[in-house]
């Protein structure tokens, strides 16, 4: 079972990944965007760990909802509302339960990912964070490690795609040949989840 602390630790691990990879994310965003994805997420996840430090919500749902709201309030850009919505909707779907099963979480996460799709109007193959999130969702119930692997592969698979959403779409064919920054950060998030579970989190 996954409790509030597991989700708190996930977000702290995600924040650490973002911190470590921020320059790379910005570099990727510089090729087909506006060179801020790393600093955007760093700002957001720093705020998330700060708020979770101050205030430790008791349920998985509350942790994710609070984190999502914090991302919305601090990131800005496209990724702020999108990642914020991902966590908030996932959190809301988890309801008020004190502990959730992996399956229950996978279901909620799928709802969160669907909300991202709805908000941004993107689908698979548009070269966005969804290209990492959607494949991860499919196998999340079975294995967090597989989900991490699927997200990573999904992110890498954005390289040959032409972007149809977000800033990279302005480039048309010139967006081909670059990995999408948002898909890359989404993979970091799912990898952090798997790592957290491996480090004795998930029951």
């Amino acid at each position: 079972m996954l409790d509030a602390d597991f989700f708190r630790r996930w977000l702290v691990a995600a924040a650490a990944s973002v911190e470590r990879e921020a320059d790379r994310l910005t570099e990727l965003d510089s090729a087909i965007g506006d060179a801020d994805h790393g600093s955007n997420l760093r700002r957001g996840f720093t705020a998330v760990t700060a708020v979770l430090d101050e205030d430790a919500p008791a349920t998985p749902g509350a942790v994710l909802t609070l984190a999502g709201r914090q991302l919305i309030s601090t990131v800005g850009g496209a990724s702020g509302p999108l990642y914020g919505t991902l966590l908030r909707r996932t959190g809301k779907a988890l309801g008020e339960e004190a502990e959730v099963t992996r399956e229950r979480f996978a279901e909620a996460f799928a709802a969160g990912v669907a909300a991202v799709g709805q908000l941004g109007g993107a689908g698979a193959g548009d070269k966005t964070m969804l290209d990492a999130l959607l494949p991860a969702t499919e196998v999340l119930a079975a294995s967090f490690d597989d989900a991490a692997e699927a997200a990573r592969a999904g992110a890498e698979a954005t390289v040959p795609l032409q972007a149809r959403k977000g800033r990279a779409s302005y480039l048309g064919e010139r967006s081909i040949g670059h990995q999408d920054p948002g898909a890359t950060s989404a993979a970091l998030l799912v990898e952090a989840l798997a790592r957290t579970a491996r480090n004795g989190g998930a029951a």
Partner: protein
């Protein structure tokens, strides 16, 4: 890349402190990054709120004041502000007549303003939105995020601001804003890439002897790279691109805008070429504005924006405006 800054993390807050010091006629909330007309809310008048990533100065905060914006929200460099800022701005300027959000068409701006509109409505503020999308370098299709909002933002903010100043109701102010956006098109060119404080190196490599055509204002590469062109050739290309999309039946308002690092001497010379092309194409320029208004930090380059203007839009354009960056009328 050398910059006149302390550390990248504080550039936006530092700039707002400097704005506050220079402009007593503005209320600058540095912590929340919201710039408001000191006399807001103005009784009975619709409030105009805009905002976006920083790095495009004087847009938007430089356009806050009588006859134009009521408030502006400053995001991080090239990053849309967050909904909290927009809600704060909306609440500060709403006199009960409602608030118009002027949103440049970027995924981030649209999503954040959208969320803010919902939250502000929850707080009892009536909100309308106009999304500015004038940049013809991006095709407006399902394969893109749609045309970017660039130079026309100034036209929308000025003209809708004049309508609000006259006491027009929210629907009318929004309708004017949409009319202006629908009648405006832009095209931009970069002679150099942009360097953001956070990244510290140019966002793309632009070799000597080449330029980017169809750039945006966020350091994105353009639609096409070409060997360097003359001012004359650039004007031909940019104006043609605009006129392919906008076939003005009547006179236009013309903005020749600098991206930040192009000297005014060059920009005025470019204006001469733009006017030449327009007159060759039979387009009459009723009003003209030349300067650095919608910039992209230290990028060298320029953009051309044309707005087909009827009598009413020209009247609103000529109406008094009193902001840090745009002032006229009496």
């Amino acid at each position: 890349m050398k910059m006149l800054i302390n550390v990248p993390e504080t550039v936006v807050a530092d700039a707002l402190r400097g704005m506050a010091a220079a402009h007593p006629e503005l209320t600058v909330d540095v912590e929340n990054r919201v710039v408001v007309r000191a006399d807001a809310p103005v009784a009975g008048k619709v409030g105009l709120v805009s905002g976006g990533g920083s790095g495009h100065e004087p847009l938007h905060a430089g356009f806050v004041g009588p006859g134009m914006l009521s408030a502006a929200c400053a995001g991080e460099v090239f990053t849309s502000p967050v909904p909290d800022q927009m809600v704060r701005a909306a609440t500060a300027v709403d006199s009960g007549a409602g608030v118009l959000f002027v949103v440049k068409n970027y995924t981030g701006d649209v999503l954040n303003f959208e969320m803010a509109a919902e939250l502000a409505e929850d707080d009892g503020v009536q909100v309308a939105q106009v999304v500015v999308d004038d940049d013809v370098a991006v095709s407006d299709s399902t394969f893109t995020a749609g045309r970017r909002g660039t130079g026309a933002t100034l036209f929308v903010e000025k003209i809708a601001g004049a309508a609000a100043d006259e006491g027009a109701p929210l629907e009318r102010v929004a309708a004017v804003a949409r009319q202006v956006n629908g009648a405006s098109r832009s095209f931009g060119v970069a002679l150099s890439a942009v360097t953001t404080p956070a990244k510290g190196s140019p966002t793309f490599d632009l070799p000597a002897g080449e330029l980017e055509l169809g750039i945006g204002i966020h350091g994105e590469p353009g639609r096409e790279r070409r060997p360097m062109m003359t001012s004359r050739e650039i004007a031909d290309f940019a104006v043609s691109a605009v006129l392919e999309d906008l076939r003005p039946a009547g006179p236009v308002i013309a903005l020749v805008n600098g991206m930040g690092a192009t000297p005014l001497l060059e920009l005025y010379g470019f204006n001469a070429e733009v006017r030449r092309v327009l007159s060759e194409r039979g387009v009459r320029v009723a009003r003209s504005l030349v300067g650095n208004y919608v910039t992209s930090l230290d990028m060298a380059g320029c953009s051309v924006t044309l707005c087909q203007a009827d009598e009413e839009l020209l009247r609103l354009w000529d109406a008094p405006v009193e902001t840090a960056a745009l002032r006229w009328g009496r």
